[in-house]
Amino acid sequence: MATVKQFFLFSFFAVLFFPFGVMAADDGLSDELVRRISSAAQHVETLSSDFTQEKYLSMFEEKLVSTGQFYYQRPDRLRWELLEPIGSGFVLNGDGGRRWHQRIPDSEPFKLDQDRAMALIAEQLFAWAKADLGWLQQNYQMTAVQQQPIQLRLIPRAADAGFLSYLLITFSASDRYVSAVEIHESDGDYTRINFSNTQVNSEIAERLFTERSRI
């Protein structure tokens, strides 16, 4: 189960920050592709975006749609927040953070060394944010599906990757950020996240990485 979580988390956050990572040429990616992605990643300090999440789960008759926002700042800050149909999210700031849900008025602090699930999120997130190429090579086999816009398929190398089958990542036309991610599970369920209104290197308020409240 832990491995499953690890792969899922890795995949989920990997796709969000894919442009900031550096690809290895021996993964079936052309040198040109690696150069394009690496070059774009070098100049990204912050990233903010709206997202729409579509979940295609066998548990439901129809797809589940939700919307939200996410923010990232080098080297170790993140905010992931669902706004509709429920309010829920978390911030990560260094080795700790806070999480919340609309039913609870306050937010709950967590420490990464005491919360295994959130620690996995942070580990994967910061691995990408800091361009941890070694870690990526160890865990994923990467192939290009199309060149323009760039679309990559990431298949977990581990045999016990659990429900995660593969990830499908689509970049923006400028290669600078991810425009869509599909997370395919082994039982046939999948999730598509479309990013929109993405801003690169814009100024992000300090409190967005530390507090639940935006104001």
Partner: protein, 804 residues
Amino acid sequence: MRLPRDYLPSGRASKMLNSVIEAIYLFFNRRSRLLLTGYVCFALLSVACLALIDQRENIKSLLPDNSADIQVRRNFDWLQKAPFARKLLIDLHAVEGISAIELQQAAAALSGSLQPPLFTQVLSGPPLEAQGQLFTTLLQALPNLVTTHDLQLIEERLRPEKIKQRLQRVREQLLTPQGWWTKQSLREDPLALWQIAAGHLRQLNPMAQADQQQRDFVSRDGRHRLVVVDTDIAIGDVIGGGKLIDQLQQMIALHVPAGIQATVVSGHQYTLANASTIQRDLRIVLGTATLAILLIFILLLRSWHALFVFLLPASVLGVSAAAVAVVFPSVSGITIGFGAVLLGITVDFTLHVYFSLRGSSQPTMQLRRLTSPLIGGALTSFLAFSVLLSSSLPGQRQLAVFSMTAIATATVLALVVMPQLCGKGCAASDPPLICVKRVRLWIVVFWAAMMVLSAVAVPNLRFDGDMRSLGVSTPALRDGEQLLQQVWGNMRSSALLFARGKTLDEALTVNDTIYQQVQRQSSSIVSLASILPAPQRQQHNRELWNQFWQQHQPTLAAHLLSIGADLGFSSSAFHPFSRWLQQPIEPVGLHFWQQASLTEVISGLMMADSEMTADGVALISLMDEADLTPQLQHSLASVPNAIVIAPGGFSQQLSAALATDFSRFIVMSLGVVVMVLIVWYRRLRHILLALLPVASGLLFMFGAMGWLGLSFNLFNVIAAILIIGLGVDYGIFILSRCDGSGCEQAQRAVLVSALTTLAGFGSLVLARHPAMYSIGITVLFGISAAVVTALYIVPAVYQWTESR
């Protein structure tokens, strides 16, 4: 001087003794080198014995070992196995201005800094929360744990509105990042039944006052966090404990910011507090005693020969310890230490010899007059201490052997060696201290009034068997204990319930019975039975579970389908749950929970019990002692192989044993002393007069302690025997002075004897250590009254009765 023959406290035996002692004196008077050489050899032998004897510090020597009180000792053994006995508890309190996250960070930083070898394990929350598969494990275990109350809770969750509420949450959760890896779990358990089993797991948390919803040890107000630290350093290890606490304080200073108060509570701190208090006490007490004895020496002895008065008794220490080693398999360090203090009683003998013979032109005559009262006094002390042989406490029996040997040996040295060391013709005799005929009436009236006042308070006298009251507790430690109890519950002094079995299953069955009985009284209990019931109980629970679902599953399935459809769920969304309900249920065992990473939790509540069999097991449960009502105790007493120990109850048992022993000692000591006096004097008036210092000493001691609210404990009980031994000596010597049969310097010898005793024992009243102080104050009261009675009242009463 002609002695009135009919007043002599002896007959033929006394004459014979006098002759023997006189002959020995004359023999060695011409061979003093031989005597001194022999004595030096004896002293060296004594020192060698002391060095060679293996002393063991064992508090058990102060616990009863007779069949009647064996439960006290057994309970003490079990008490030592309490899960929290060796842990360090650190409470972190956030004062105003410190946020919850800052407090959490401080706790995490401190936990991370406490590393082996000093700190073997650090917990800032229940270890059961540390791994991710717990909820699956709990769900699997639930059918084996479920109670009728649990089934009522589940039935509540089956109401349509509750199902709808729950399915809405499932839907919401699937939208969040956490939903990615909980999807399968939500399909298997949409009603979150695992939470019912989690309630059982929470019962293993001994922090009764903690917020049970938190992952860490967090108080209900969120302002306190607890860090629990394990160590291999034994509680009694002063050096290791010092390093441990120093290191901990350094880490607290380094990692706990201003605004967060760290309170540490552990047995090691008590050891250190005791050690430092004893060191401080020894400096003060020894300094005071040395100064006092020096003053006595300068004012009343005034000769280097008087050094032997102290040297001879001191030299019997090793031989007395050797006697204990011969009789008992191991020698208690407490016995030797306490026995060394008791050696002060033997100074009396050498003092009397010194005062009688120093500068005397007729040493043989003085020796003849001294021999009878000295042997009489020694015999009464010897027999008074012999009653300790009947004690249920091995330490007190050792003390009896030690004291009897010391008294016998010191008497021989006083009568054989000391006469040769008093100096010859070098000092004139001092005048008597008190003129018998001039004892003022007001002194007698004052004494009588004090005795009456004392008698009034005797019923207030108490016996305290609580060993904790014999140790040092600083205000900081008391405050720490109080804080811990207020914030986290009474975990450090919980009642312990042991379930013993030849096998684990047997122990589980006993444990289960205990658990059910406590639960029936609606008391909370920390017990493995909450997650690991006995096999037969699990079988019963599974039957309950199956019956419940046979009745409710069809309705639930219909509700899940219809309500689920309203929320967009497909008809197959919760098929895994339905399939799970129909699967056969496996029982849970120790291995099941160990695989779920609960080894740490289980090992704290489980131990080998080799007294049962090689594979014997004892399971430990904890509950608040306040909930342990007499009714519950009675019902638990009927459970075979169950042991219930409450710290308070243990103290009561020990107090009862102590009180019984004490009464027996006093009666027996007085009995043997009276017997000796009857044989010695054969006259009621003399017997009563010789007993007067003892009686008044004991009465005043009991009364003063009663008035001041002081209790008798394991240590100062011995002081009462000392008062009997010394008091009778005073009575005998003063009586011998009154009737003219004894030495003229008897009063001075008695006064100096009392002063040296008060200097040695009484100075303990300056000690801060409760045990030392209790001895000091007891002896101070007893000896003061006994010596005043001996010096003033006995002569006055003697004179008054003589004149009538």
